[in-house]
């Protein structure tokens, strides 16, 4: 493990559909609502800011801004956001964000989709602490499961 790896997340998935189809699912309001489990206000376009409100049982009602940085169909979709943002009384606009990059590559007849979230190292001291504090409710179950697993393995 390198120190650099502590500042980013990388994930890849193979999808049995062409990149054009996956692109549509990533960038169409009705489709992203369905799989990302959010309602969306605003348009998905380069430079636009849209607001997502979570429909997920654990985070229901949390509303957060997503800034669309780049759209290169059907290859690259980039947005920035504040991880863990939930407190409507706090102005996050001047704080550093993490960058989420979706990269679509043809693979066989389907698509290899990679998502990376970078910039965790830029999040300030206070903010970093708050990100983890804010998420504590949502993470409680996951952490409980991990701890249970670890303890059972002893």
């Amino acid at each position: 493990m390198t120190i650099a790896e502590l500042s980013r997340i990388d994930r890849t998935i193979e999808i049995a559909a062409p990149p054009e189809r996956v692109w549509r699912a990533l960038t169409t309001v009705s489709e992203i609502s369905a799989w990302f489990e959010v309602t969306i206000e605003g348009d998905i376009a380069p430079g636009s800011t849209l607001w997502m409100t979570s429909l997920h049982a654990q985070y229901a009602g949390q509303r957060f801004a997503v800034h669309v940085k780049e759209m290169t169909p059907p290859r690259r979709f980039v947005w920035q956001w504040h991880p863990g943002e939930v407190d409507p009384s706090v102005d996050y606009s001047r704080e550093p964000q993490t960058t989420v990059t979706f990269v679509l590559e043809p693979s066989g007849g389907g698509t290899r989709l990679s998502v990376s979230e970078t910039g965790f190292n830029e999040i300030s001291l206070a903010r970093r602490a708050k990100v983890y504090g804010d998420n504590s409710q949502g993470w409680t179950d996951v952490l409980a499961a991990i701890q249970k697993y670890v303890e059972a393995a002893r």
């Binding site: 493990m1 390198t2 120190i3 650099a4 790896e5 502590l6 500042s7 997340i9 994930r11 998935i13 999808i15 049995a16 559909a17 189809r21 996956v22 699912a25 990533l26 489709e31 369905a34 799989w35 990302f36 489990e37 991880p83 989709l113 998502v115 979230e117 965790f120 190292n121 830029e122 999040i123 300030s124 001291l125 206070a126 903010r127 970093r128 602490a129 708050k130 990100v131 983890y132 504090g133 504590s136 993470w139 409680t140 996951v142 952490l143 409980a144 991990i146 701890q147 249970k148 303890e151």
Partner: protein, 113 residues
């Protein structure tokens, strides 16, 4: 497991990421992970930071448990604590699991439509 224990572990994570949320501290960790244990004089020599500044950063890292200090003669020697860094990684993996779930839903959504 009690909710209190979960909260305690989250407080620990916040402290840990706070310690990592600074370029000089990340550079210090990088140096300790690649070059092995080092004294303050050696570390201050390799960065454009005063000895006092380095000491302050090392103390933040030590409080978060990312490095351990031992006295060797007149000097403090600092060593990386890999298990604590692995813990930081596990917390990032919790966020990553959120992405895994979202991507699984995306895949299911695209492949059935």
């Amino acid at each position: 497991m009690s909710k209190r224990r979960v909260e305690k572990s989250l407080t620990g994570a916040a402290l840990l990421f706070a310690a990592l949320g600074d370029p000089t501290r990340l550079a210090l960790l990088q140096r300790l992970s690649q070059g092995g244990p080092a004294s303050i004089s050696v570390l201050a020599g390799s960065f454009q930071v005063t000895r006092q500044g380095v000491t302050k950063h090392l103390q933040v890292l030590a409080t978060a448990g990312v490095i351990d200090g031992t006295r060797r003669g007149r000097e403090h020697v600092w060593t990386l604590n890999p298990s604590r860094l692995a813990e930081a990684r596990r917390h990032l993996e919790v966020i990553a699991r959120g992405w895994d779930n979202a991507l699984d839903r995306l895949k299911a959504h695209v492949e059935k439509n």
